[in-house]
């Protein structure tokens, strides 16, 4: 069968003030009808530019310098914009990452979809609206006819993404390009959207190009994969083959940097040293050579071509990862399994330290006002009675989706918000009862690491000044001593001394996150609350920061509270995990127990929805994950808040709120009337045995 899309030696360059960026430098791909091709790479790899080149939607200064793109035998690269317009939306559809900014906030959803229809089909306005309703129903929107007249802001994130998909599919294109379609969505919604795209692909006979950095998504959804690095394809093959038998060192390194596999042994993640090359002056040799652990002199002189030993598996490397290395790794994996058993035993044998932070019945409501006089009409129940404690030296991971209240709890603990009710005690001292000097003194011991490293560092201050500020505010040490402290701290986090003079915008994302970490450490705190510290980072950089955090924890005796939505990372780093849903703590317990034997249906659903970088495991997932949408936090469901999405819900769940009950000796607790495990005191459960799902 002739391929639907053929890209041959595509070169896309972008003219910038400092020079020309070779964003895509010789990429060749093909796509068969009806298959999903995954393009995976980190930031700067050129994957988005490739997708935009196909659509002809390059940014200002961008142009296709060389190469060709053929769709169904016709050449579409180099066409005039007018001609491309007839193809976009009609034969090729595209969906973007952030549905909020990709939809026009001043037009109703129905009009936007109808607009897409009327641009390519000669139909009346009513017919276009009918088609819009039809296609909205196709993407799984409940009550589509009614929702046609609503505006984008009235939809949730997952629903908005469905609207985008509807717009892209309104004219039944042959090809759908999805650029990071689910990166901005919660994990449970992500699973729903990815399944929808898969389903539509089969029903409409479409081909899909899935551009993402998430290897788990690729493992589950793509038929074939192309791995991109620095504007070139380094390896391409069928998905199963890629994960089982990666030949390019970069692919192998990526897999080793993932926290998924390392979670059980807690070994250090492999972090790829160095940084991607400058694409304004791309090197003439292998682009990965400076960072490759197998590189030889030949690699630094000549550029390897994309060749393969077998049909369908090509890679660009002179010394690909072969049998010897894999044999070594198999031996290492066997040793790791043995180590795993040891670690597991060690974990349970670990004597819990004293309680460093304890919260009791913590409540935070945000008022909702409306009207000219700003009357309070309701409140958002962000945190609704949460109690947990964190022991010295451990990492407490708080995991949950957007709106669950985990960030709010972090902010309450650090003092950025004031609790509506409840108690936070640090080292036995109630934080609400202290004030003035003693409070400021206590503040030193709890520090915060922000999610967005760019927004958390003052762009007008040099790094050295930013790091000195905590010491200046707390009046610790003389100027000279402060400078010495800063230099020491920079060394600790692996940044060179010259970093002191630089401004935040001159650092990379990973380096900025280290700066944020260094700032949190300046006051030598006992507890660090880290809010999504690695969520915005690429996998290889993420590994570096995670290694740094766990290394320094041992060295400095720190206690962490790690807030994240990424279950794999939380599982890797945490000793104890708390799972939150809509302001309630639904399960808490030792990391391995919560992950391997979850008692709460939501935890089970979360684990099932999270994409794992293992195609076999992804295919084996039969459970549905979590269906439905997040209810409103202004009027949360009565009784158990999860009951609207729970497959096990019964009448009692709407009437009585389930209390947290213990499930093991190791402080494993969950709040459910029909838990998946047997609680320690079975007579208080409403089901005599653990319930298996229908």
């Amino acid at each position: 069968m002739a391929p639907l899309l053929e890209i041959e030696d595509l070169r896309t360059y972008i003219e910038l003030r400092e020079g020309t960026v070779h964003a895509v430098d010789g990429v060749s791909l093909y796509l068969e009808p009806g298959e999903t091709l995954g393009i995976v790479g980190e930031s700067g790899s050129g994957k988005t530019m490739t997708a935009l080149s196909i659509m002809g939607l390059l940014p200002v200064g961008g142009h296709i310098a060389d190469g060709s793109i053929h769709l169904d035998g016709r050449k579409i690269s180099g066409l005039s914009d007018e001609h491309m317009r007839t193809i976009r939306g009609d034969e090729i559809g595209m969906i973007f990452q952030d549905p909020l900014t990709s939809l026009n906030p001043t037009m109703t959803v129905g009009k936007q979809i109808a607009e897409a229809v009327r641009l390519h089909r000669d139909v009346s306005r009513e017919q276009a609206m009918d088609r819009a309703a039809e296609v909205l129903g196709l993407v799984g929107m409940p009550r589509p006819k009614e929702r046609l007249n609503e505006y984008p802001h009235q939809f949730s994130g997952g629903m908005r993404q469905r609207v985008m998909i509807a717009m892209a599919l309104a004219c039944e294109p042959k090809l759908l390009i999805a650029d990071e379609p689910t990166t901005a969505l919660d994990v449970t919604i992500q699973k729903q959207i990815l399944e929808l795209i898969d389903d539509l692909r089969k029903r409409l006979g479409m081909s899909v190009i899935l551009v993402t950095h998430d290897l788990g998504v690729i493992a589950g959804r793509a038929d074939r994969v192309a791995v991109m690095y620095a504007g070139k394809i380094v390896e391409t093959t069928a998905t199963a083959t890629l994960f089982a038998n990666p030949r390019h060192p970069y692919t192998e390194a990526l897999f080793q940097a993932l926290p998924d596999k390392a979670a059980e042994t807690r070994e250090r993640l492999y972090s790829i040293p160095g940084a991607p090359p400058d694409l304004i002056h791309p090197p003439k040799a292998c682009r990965f050579a400076p960072r490759c652990r197998y590189a030889q002199d030949h690699c630094r002189e000549e550029e390897p071509r994309l060749l393969g030993e077998t049909v369908g598996h090509t890679f660009a490397c002179f010394y690909p990862v072969g049998e010897t290395e894999r044999g070594e790794r198999r031996a290492a994996a066997a040793a790791a399994t043995a180590a795993r058993a040891e670690v597991a035993a060690e974990q349970f044998a670990k004597v819990p330290g004293e309680v460093v932070l304890a919260t009791k019945d913590l409540v935070k409501d945000f008022p909702v006002t409306s009207g000219i006089l700003q009357r309070r009409v309701g409140s958002v129940s962000a945190v609704a009675g949460v109690s947990f404690d964190i022991r010295r030296g451990e990492t407490f991971g708080l995991v949950g989706e957007s709106g669950c209240g985990k960030t709010t709890i972090g902010r309450l603990i650090v003092g950025l918000e004031k609790a509506t009710a409840g108690k936070i005690s640090f080292g036995g001292v109630d934080l609400a009862k202290v004030s003035g000097r003693e409070y400021r003194h206590l503040r030193r011991k709890i520090q915060y690491m922000f999610q967005d490293s760019y927004a958390s560092l003052d762009p007008r201050m040099r790094a050295g000044t930013i790091l000195r500020e905590p010491l200046v505010v707390q009046r610790i040490g003389s100027h000279k001593e402060q400078e010495r402290s800063v230099a020491e701290m920079l060394d600790h986090v692996g940044l060179p001394g010259s970093a002191m003079e630089r401004y935040p915008h001159e650092f990379s994302g990973g380096q900025r996150q280290r700066l944020g970490f260094a700032r949190a450490l300046m006051l030598r705190p006992e507890l660090i609350v880290a809010d999504e510290p690695v969520s915005a980072l690429d996998v290889s950089i993420q590994a570096q920061v995670l290694n740094l955090m766990s290394g320094l924890q041992r060295e400095l005796g720190l206690t962490y509270m790690f807030i994240s939505h990424d279950l794999a990372v939380v599982r890797y780093l945490s000793d104890h995990i708390g799972v939150m849903y809509l302001g309630k703590l639904v399960e808490v317990g030792p990391a391995e127990e919560v992950y391997l034997q979850p008692a709460h249906p939501y935890t089970r659903g979360l684990i099932d929805s999270a994409p794992v970088a293992d195609p076999a495991a992804e295919k084996a997932k039969v459970r549905a994950g979590v269906t439905g949408e997040l209810p409103s936090a202004i009027s949360p469901p009565s009784g158990c808040r999860f009951r609207t999405r729970c497959p096990l819900a019964q009448e009692i769940c709407a009437e009585v709120e389930p209390p947290l009950r213990p499930f093991s000796e190791q402080r494993h607790m969950a709040a459910c009337h029909f838990p998946l495990e047997v609680p320690l005191s079975p007579e208080t459960s409403y089901a005599a045995e653990p319930v298996t799902e229908p």
Binding site: R460, E501, G510
Partner: protein
């Protein structure tokens, strides 16, 4: 759409301007290069850290119109302040023999209706206009910034009260008040500066309050609270420096507006009194001769052109400054 803005290439590990990552000591990294070698291969580390001001200047300098305007402003300032040292004229004693004389070798732009050399008069008037313009701008921006930053940061009922006062002030027709104030107080330079600033600061306060509201939610401002810092530190060390861009832009517009207001007052005869003069007063003096049979163009056009050129130049500079600061944010 956000997707169309080019992502900074390459954002993760941006080596062309950044610090090289030291290679962490990983076992089995024997084949890899050290951090130094990696840096030499494809990276160009900057020699000096480039502050935001420098980057802003570079963008500003690209705008040819802005550079031309800057040059024009400098030329006008030179004309007004250094000019009288070169082209000496008597600006204190009237000379009725020279009344309304035509432009000639000894009087390059002729004379006005009481015999002053007009070119010299323009220079003197320029001095007053620019002095008053800059002073009024500085005073109003200073006061407006502090007022707005305080209101925006503290928020709550204090903010409401402060802003309603500003709203009330803005709703008063300033021309009327200016006229009344000018009649009550003997209008000299200081009073005029005060009177103009007294109205201009209201707009600045509103603007800075808006900026403060935006910046207040920035995480680096919240971080000050986490490390135990007080609100004053957050405002003075973090919010105001980051709002400087907007403040400077507003400042340049303030200069242009103040010159215009002064000219307006002078035109109505309520500005500075002779022998000090400003461009508006010169215009006012020439008005009565508009209808006469002879054309006394030198009484009207030079002063008018001076006002227009100066104001336009400052406006272009302000626009370019705004672009410079915003592009910097966009290219992040």
């Amino acid at each position: 759409m956000s997707m169309i803005i080019p992502p900074p290439p390459p954002s993760e590990g941006s080596p062309s301007t950044g610090v090289a990552e030291p290679a962490p000591a990983e076992p089995g990294s024997g084949g890899a290069l050290t951090a130094v070698e990696a840096e030499e291969l494809g990276l160009t580390p900057t020699a000096k850290p480039r502050s935001l001001l420098r980057r802003g200047w570079e963008v500003f300098a690209e705008n040819k119109l802005a550079l031309a305007s800057l040059g024009l402003v400098l030329a006008i300032v030179g004309f007004c302040f250094i000019g009288p040292l070169i082209y000496r004229t008597d600006q204190t004693h009237t000379n009725l023999a020279n009344v309304l004389c035509h432009p000639s070798a000894s009087h390059l732009l002729g004379c006005d209706n009481v015999g002053y050399d007009l070119l010299g008069r323009l220079m003197l008037a320029g001095q007053t206009s620019i002095e008053v313009g800059v002073a009024a701008a500085v005073v109003s921006v200073l006061f407006g910034t502090i007022y707005g930053a305080l209101a925006g940061f503290i928020g709550g009922p204090l903010d409401t009260v402060m802003m309603r006062l500003v709203d009330a002030g803005l709703s008063i027709p300033y021309i009327t008040v200016l006229i009344i104030l000018s009649v009550i107080f003997h209008p000299n330079k200081g009073v005029i500066i005060f009177v103009i600033a007294a109205f201009y600061w209201l707009g600045v306060a509103r603007l800075v309050r808006g900026e403060t509201l935006t910046l207040r939610t920035r995480e680096y401002v919240q971080a000050v609270k986490v490390i135990g810092g007080r609100r004053s530190r957050a405002i003075l060390r973090h919010i105001v420096p980051n709002a400087i861009g907007t403040i400077i832009v507003q400042g340049t517009f303030a200069i242009a507006d103040s010159i215009l207001i002064l000219a307006g007052l002078g035109f109505l005869g309520l500005g500075v009194q002779p022998p000090t003069t400003d461009w508006g007063s010169i215009l006012s003096g020439g008005l009565q001769y508009l209808q006469s049979s002879q054309s006394y163009w030198w009484l009207i056009y030079p002063a008018g052109i001076a006002i227009i050129l100066t104001c336009i130049a400052f406006n272009f500079i302000g626009d370019a400054l705004r672009d410079a600061f915003e592009t910097r944010l966009q290219r992040r």
